[in-house]
Symmetry: C2
Amino acid sequence: MKKMQEMILAEGKVLPGGILKVGSFLNQKIDTAFLAEMAEEIARLYGGCGVNKILTVESSGIAIAAAVGIVMKVPVVFAKKHRSSNVDGETYGADVHSFTHGTDYRMVVSRDYIGPEDRVLLVDDFLANGQALNGLIKIVEQAGAELVGCAIAIEKCFQGGGDALREKGIRVESLGMIESMTDDSITFRV
Amino acid sequence: MKKMQEMILAEGKVLPGGILKVGSFLNQKIDTAFLAEMAEEIARLYGGCGVNKILTVESSGIAIAAAVGIVMKVPVVFAKKHRSSNVDGETYGADVHSFTHGTDYRMVVSRDYIGPEDRVLLVDDFLANGQALNGLIKIVEQAGAELVGCAIAIEKCFQGGGDALREKGIRVESLGMIESMTDDSITFRV
């Protein structure tokens, strides 16, 4: 998506440690006109695939997931992050390590909100190592639902999470794909 | 909003401790068709008020704030919740006590994302004691921005937060207003 590349180049800031800061349009502050454009593009990419549920994880994935859900006219479910890994019988869950924050958490979804009848599209703002997506995929598997694919705003290809999923045969569509990044340059995969 | 009353009656569950569970359509699982209707109604209520920014707090307020932002064509900013109350020079912040979770947190917003030029609409999914809204109002004040009003999906009137704000002259619009609630009945304020 050409506009995503333009937005990243215009607004993104590269911070030490391979962090791309896009808080001015994608998270913390959300450019809602662009959010609507992203949602339309994701709905176009996954149109005709029979998606009947969108799954994301709190909190920065919620805005884009909700926008996609409105366009695709399907419900959105978001996993909650818990600090403990307590397991109860009422939830699906997966333990996730966040490299960004250096923390572990458990993502959980009520069993009421996803099930074998669901064809699920995973939506998130960022894809780096793929830890969050892998957690969501475990939840889809536990629910006996079908994974249609993943839709991501920005993929940091150099961290390998997206390609590892593609190698497993999972469809991953990222609106902006960053092949490499230095303090003063960003190279996109096209 | 009549539809909100219908949704609460059809889908809501009253739990011990005055908790209303609406996870099946408002948070955790989001009915996106209804989300779009809520956004249209809030945009109608605050149309012509010169709102140029929407402010909410992670994470369950993000979906409705994003939907309103798309309809009103204004950016959405969400405050992040931090566990510590460390203050740095780059953020506005307010310490908040959550009665729901029995915890304290600090909500913070980067100074880059809100300022004196902003006319701010606060959007959230729930209004009970008003702790979260009061925190957001402090941030609006710190930024030197103007508070236009508040738009809430569900207000639990019996917890008093909304009326306390109205007594201060702040406009508060809630799509569903619960006057009282028992294990087997819900009474709306109309």
